[in-house]
Symmetry: C2
Subunit: 385 residues, 2 copies
Amino acid sequence: MKISANTSGSSLTTANPVEGGEKNRVINPELWQACAGPLVNLPAAGTYVVYFPQGHSEQVAASMKKDVDAQIPSYPNLQSKLFCILHKITLHADTETDEVYAQMTLQPVPSFDREALLRSDLLMKAHKPQTEFFCKTLTASDTSTHGGFSVPRRAAEKIFPPLDFNMQPPAQELMARDLHDNVWTFRHIYRGQPKRHLLTTGWSLFVSGKRIFAGDSVLFIRDEKQQLLLGIRRANRQPANLSSSVLSSDSMHIGVLAAAAHAAANNSPFTVFYNPRASSSEFVIPLAKYYKAVCSNQISLGMRFRMMFETEESGTRRYMGTITGISDLDGVRWKNSQWRNLQVGWDEATAAATTISTATTAAAATTATTSATTATTTATADDGG
Amino acid sequence: MKISANTSGSSLTTANPVEGGEKNRVINPELWQACAGPLVNLPAAGTYVVYFPQGHSEQVAASMKKDVDAQIPSYPNLQSKLFCILHKITLHADTETDEVYAQMTLQPVPSFDREALLRSDLLMKAHKPQTEFFCKTLTASDTSTHGGFSVPRRAAEKIFPPLDFNMQPPAQELMARDLHDNVWTFRHIYRGQPKRHLLTTGWSLFVSGKRIFAGDSVLFIRDEKQQLLLGIRRANRQPANLSSSVLSSDSMHIGVLAAAAHAAANNSPFTVFYNPRASSSEFVIPLAKYYKAVCSNQISLGMRFRMMFETEESGTRRYMGTITGISDLDGVRWKNSQWRNLQVGWDEATAAATTISTATTAAAATTATTSATTATTTATADDGG
DNA sequence: TTGTAGGCGACTCGCCGACAA
DNA sequence: TTGTCGGCGAGTCGCCTACAA
């Protein structure tokens, strides 16, 4: 399947041999980011964060395509949010599916430290400029066995090394590295009437090897060393590991909550996996972002509200709305939680419903009113302002 | 990939729409059993069982290829075994890999009932006679794209419908149903010099569709309605869902233990998944079997010991040994546990090491001394005696 | 009895413009 | 600018027997 594998790798940071089968490799952060999407912004190791067990549970539910049952015991001592220090964060990609996720080691911070923290950690990391990047959703022709891949003109000119137009036809061999450091080779040719950029030889191996289909997306980026990297983003299908065949979803939810409760009780470290594309549950957010959202402006009914959404071709777009409700999502288990406690009526309800179609916002867009995380949404709005 | 799918299905029993993505289908029990192997014997719904959380945890560890960390909180109130009633048991197969597993709903039984239970439930279900069955480990030729599948002579004569030998060459179309009720069609032909049974047309679709390779096994059975069923058993590779990318293995272990502890404290039902081929952790066993093993004969050092193992071609073979040690596997967490508390010196150490190669016993065979579950092993010995 | 290899059709893959959209 | 199609060549797939092991 794979054309070649290279283990050399430029070890920018030291990664532990982690669970999860990924060998001792460092995932390229830019490529990971590109696959995760433009809205994902991971906190840095060593900084303080807020952890929402409710949101974590929600992500597990989304991955299992199963709602939480009534059999989950309640953890009365577990608060709806935990202030933590992020000891370690490592990037990963599923060996089978290339699905990106992050592993974080969190340690709850005792309550008496919080006030100081809230004041200390206000430096927001500046958004890195998007690297040179293009992303295309594959057509039926791109994925059929009948031919190759039609490269959008601008993409080819921006990302690929320039062709020698003295050749007839102009062509070259492209090598691109995926998240697992496998190298894929493609013949890049400029031909046809009218002329266009195509990837031919090697392309079908990539399609069958990654098991991608029409509707999935492929992205190419160029890192700072001008090396070509490529990744995939699968369409919004049912999760692959729908059934783990190992653990019941009940046990998974209990595991998430019990681990958090135990860590909170002992101020001991615990580990979570964050999967940015499995759901729109950004359940670990920088403390500074949280503070900015909650403390700097009072949330109230009728207030204007801005939020960024991801567009089809991996861009971002801002939507405006008005806060129409503030209430607990689950008043029994999580009272006075700030997790998804806002309902927003969007200005462009129909526009949103028709144009927004990514995984993260589909559910939100279909109903005109949207629940959203206080912290992330308002902070995003501030960024955009 | 699949030649045909049939959803009609003969609903022998009613199965709930379960988690795990399997649609509302009843897995054929005989086919499930054949895929699980001859040593697997599931308890029946409505009967009493003994549940070992330690063994359950071990299976999770095996599935994740990761040992238990030190970060797991201890559950001092969780005993090393729970007496439970098995409310429900449903059979499943992973949609991607065809891996078989069972989902069980257990409810702990209050301690004051146990004495009565121990006396009440002594009826052992008689071993069902093995259905008509054959299992072949695939060769390089079987799986290459160069040709078809060479059917062992006895297998073809025993399992397949008889050929019309007036034809030249004798041939027929075979249809066989897999665990998911997909129908696969093969051309079965008897030809060559010397004559042999072959599956040709349709075979390569099956191989690529199921992603099976040399070393994996294919099995055919005939159910009571003379219908042909087929299943696969993958070779002893690393688990596919090595990384779930959803939950850390710590959380998984915590989930298993916390779910059991919560159920034990409240005598409330809980759910476990049992994967017979993921590890040799038979952590839910019939109460009668347990009782027979523990109470009817006293286990002591130097005692002779018999145990069944699975052979390569899905047969069983009995090995003899002597008990050389009785001790806690984990004296800290699980004191006085009967889980793997026996060390056995086998009479045919080398024979065992060379001939036994299935997943379930490989670890045991390589070290001359073997740890084994008290209950299951001695009970098996009694059966065979 | 059954695993592998050589021989050879037939058919799919995959590279190419021609056309629209 | 780019998605799909008809066209064809080269390469695999896959059916057959021969020959051991």
